[in-house]
Subunit: 159 residues, 2 copies
């Protein structure tokens, strides 16, 4: 998968500043999402200071960030696919989060790579619903759902 | 309110490493939560690089982090209050998030101070439910709910 461009690499420059997944945010996490069959996947190695209350495990906001950014990226990819278009073709599709739900199942170790997997639950007009899991090795540590909404084209054009 | 200690200042040292709110995490946001009558409040000035997709507004993970950390802190404060105990008395009460729900209502400006307010919805045994709002000035930009669970005392003792 590393040979192909990530979903986030297709975001227009003006919409690529997200701390979680913007390729133009030098301080950010620069999350990268890809297709894996009909699922989407994002792998990330947390930074040592991403600890939660006690060392060795991650903070809740990191888990939420992974699900959120991978969710909106997956929504864009799903919408392109639904329209039978390749990512990067115009007009650009960029989603924002309307709602995010996270169920924390187990502490999230941060000494290895975490994997977020997304399933496209529904594409309905401007709205895409993604269900997600976050795993550390074979263990699912969190589950979540993102409802993402397409940014209107005229708003995109103004930027 | 700045004259009093924050909820997070009472966390035992071994549980004060959270990137969002741990006073011992030098890289972290060091969020601080306080009582304001029967509500809880946390104010935070985002960093310039906390941008979302486009500059000037925050990323979803920041909103989630604010609600998450303020939620668990509020849960601890509520449980102490329910037990008629002052924060800082033994045994220490420290909560983790079981679930987090965020509804994003409007883009979150990051050029000023954001305010999270929590209402204690329910204290039931080891579980506390907090409903929250995030505001920028007079505008509510997000709403959320945190269900937090008390970390068992024997786990705390092992650390």
């Amino acid at each position: 998968m590393s040979e192909t461009k990530a979903f986030q690499d297709y975001y227009p420059d003006d919409f690529a500043h997200c701390y979680g997944c913007g390729r133009l945010n030098e301080d950010g996490l620069q999350l990268k999402s890809y297709w894996d069959g009909d699922e989407t996947v994002c792998r990330y190695q947390p930074r040592p200071y991403h600890t939660g209350g006690f060392p060795g495990f991650g903070y809740g906001g990191l888990v939420a960030s992974l699900l959120d950014c991978h969710g909106t990226a997956s929504a864009a990819a799903a919408k392109y696919r639904e329209e039978g278009r390749k990512m990067g073709t115009e007009p650009a599709l960029r989603f924002v989060t309307a709602s995010l739900k996270v169920d924390f199942i187990a502490p999230t170790p941060i000494d290895g790579i975490l994997e977020v997997r997304g399933k496209i639950k529904e594409v309905k007009g401007r709205k895409v619903t993604i269900s997600e899991t976050l795993s550390a090795g074979d263990k699912v540590v969190a589950k979540g759902e993102v409802i993402a909404v397409l940014i209107p084209e005229n708003f995109m054009a103004e930027k």
